[in-house]
Symmetry: C2
Subunit: 388 residues, 2 copies
């Protein structure tokens, strides 16, 4: 179940013909009226046209949003004024069909950077897309399917909170995933009662430990967007903590799915950092480990090459006493006080045949972080080396 | 010709048995007396024992250095107090054989991080190593061979400057190459007359555009060291500019060789950044492009995927107007003003079958940089995934 699990939302997805394959590539999520919304966007200074448009619409509408339209097959990034016009026309087409202000519609795009959107295919498909929008569970799934690029499975999540308010969400991932502030495309809906202001705080907190704590290839996208909309249709106004908990659960499920579906990855690796001066420092250390090609090559080989983690930590610019680093692979301590424990590393290798966990303690500070990453594989390189 | 091309230096290399393969793994470069020297080291805060020892020896000796000993097959990094003792013992052994202060000897190590040095093999080999040190051209080559880890060829360079002073050098590279301040292991010798103070300025300027402008895999090593020694035996005191030019030529040749010999790389790609606010900004932009896995995957595929360059530039944190980016692949403009020029990209692909050049203009500032990198290949991943 996805974005239509919470009451008050309709969704649909169609194949507009953006993708040559004929797979679904255009989606919409619509509330019954303008509802409070919050959004976080990529920090990339080459942000795509739809990101720049959606930022403006969030400002102008003061976070009262009627709908979101999303396409895959083309990022509409590095597309100049023509791209800005295309993003606006997508929003205007939805607004026309739904009957709302254009500034009440957000736009997300994902796919190759550079090509222009085929508006001759998108605009004619908008009428059918909006007409088909329904509140059934399958409608949410259809919408999620329309986001997929190289994803191999649909990413959706749904939870219920105290009193029965609901949170649902959909996302897409696969590559160019190293969120800075936001991440990838994700739409989260809830039928909880909430102000736009509260939603901003809830989303900001929820993404930090979920979408902002995954790292597949160190590449920050031009299009990362996470949108949260609250219909209020459950009639329940949860506490900020309860709402954050529900949203975080959905985000965590989607974030985990994104890493598990990383292009050609064979393992999900969880990096737990502890003992850092603060959580931010811990997260930067964990991200630096996940950024390292040599570290992610060792994950692919199932090699407990802890020395590469030490080198990555030392290079990341965070305060570090290398003589205090303890590293544990899947429960087996391999380094203590910055040096080898003496354990036979070949005995650790069998533990790394599937998903595994690494604990990295860097001192006695209170900072911790939990980073999800995947291995770097020959398949990833081959796949991403092919001209698109 | 290598470090023994300049007059006043002896060198040698032997197989001490550090590497199971029996390949050369221990080298020495010796001046006839303590000579002015300069050195730059990795910025990694998990710096290896030999780096910390050499830093101290440069301070204590005030840059008057008699010799350098280098080993491959073990980085002596993340080795705790035992590692510190081993680095000291290596320096002391050379000092004993040569007849100088231990603080007049520098130590460099390269190889896997974590294992302890086999001192039972190294110490007995020191007598023969120093005894064999000669000033012949082959002696310089023997020393260069002793540095090799996964290198496939010996990296050496030699030039003559105005009046006949000489500069020679040797280096090793192959992986974990993303210099921060220094890079990898390299020893540069000259028979020019120079103070240690002048050598520091010369080395600092020479490494910036050479070793500090290459990037193979984004990974900063724990052991990077570049040492420059001046015997003064030519009797010639070149101007700072002349000496810098000679040293830079040697560094440039060695840096290029390091990239060309990157593990399993199939192409050397030169990234020319121009129009940045200043040279430092240009270099960080070029490095960010080279850091990107997705960019280096596209190099492997010979794919002019300029959009990935735009995304990498946008993510690097430098001031950027994405609508002013012009990108040219091997002479063919593919993007102007941040969007596609309309050129048929499949017609560009054949130009990228071998080494190629990319021009990236980001505005009208005076800053430029020239970064050398290599492609990311499935072979690199497989090679670095194997437990060592």
């Amino acid at each position: 179940m996805s974005v239509t699990f919470p009451r008050g939302f309709r969704a649909s997805g169609v194949a507009a013909g953006i993708k040559p394959s004929g797979a679904p590539d255009l989606s919409v999520v619509i509330a019954e009226e303008p509802v409070p919304a919050a959004a976080v966007f990529t920090q990339n200074s080459a942000a795509a046209a739809p990101v720049r448009l959606s930022r403006r619409h969030m400002e102008v509408s003061r976070g009262a949003i009627r709908g979101v339209t999303l396409n895959s097959g083309c990022a509409n990034a590095a597309t100049g004024e023509l791209g800005d016009r295309a993003a606006y026309d997508m929003a205007a087409a939805v607004a026309g069909e739904v009957g709302c202000e254009v500034t009440e519609v957000l736009v997300c795009s994902t796919g190759p950077i550079g090509p222009q959107l085929p508006m001759d295919k998108i605009l004619p498909a908008m009428q059918l897309l909006v007409a088909r929008a329904a509140s059934s569970p399958t409608a949410g799934k259809d919408a999620a399917a329309g986001l997929m690029t190289t994803d191999t499975f649909i990413k959706e999540a749904a939870v219920s909170g105290p009193g029965g308010f609901r949170v649902g969400g959909m996302a897409k991932g696969a590559a160019m995933i190293r969120p800075s502030m936001a991440t990838m495309l994700a739409v989260i809906t809830t039928d909880a009662v909430s102000s736009a202001q509260r939603l901003r705080a809830v989303l900001s907190e929820a993404v930090e430990e979920t979408f902002n704590s995954i790292n597949i290839d160190g590449c920050e996208s031009t299009n990362d967007t996470v949108i949260l909309m609250a219909s209020g249709r459950s009639g329940i106004e949860p506490s900020p903590e309860e709402l954050t908990k529900g949203v975080r659960k959905v985000c965590a499920q989607l974030a985990r799915d994104i890493v598990a579906d990383a292009e050609d990855c064979t393992r999900v690796v969880t990096i737990l950092v502890s003992g850092a001066p603060d959580d931010g420092s811990a997260r930067r250390m964990g991200m630096a480990i996940a950024d390292s090609d040599l570290v992610r090559c060792s994950f692919y080989g199932g090699d407990p090459n802890w020395g590469r983690l030490v080198a990555a930590l030392g290079a990341c610019g965070e305060p570090l006493d290398a003589s205090r680093i303890d590293i544990t692979y899947q429960g087996t301590p391999v380094a203590r006080g910055g040096t080898h424990t003496g354990v036979d590393l070949s005995a650790v290798e069998p533990l790394l045949a599937g998903d595994f966990e690494i604990d990295v303690a860097v001192g006695d500070g209170p900072g911790t972080a939990r980073i999800l990453t995947s291995d770097l594989t020959p398949g990833y390189v081959i796949f991403n080396g092919e001209p698109s």
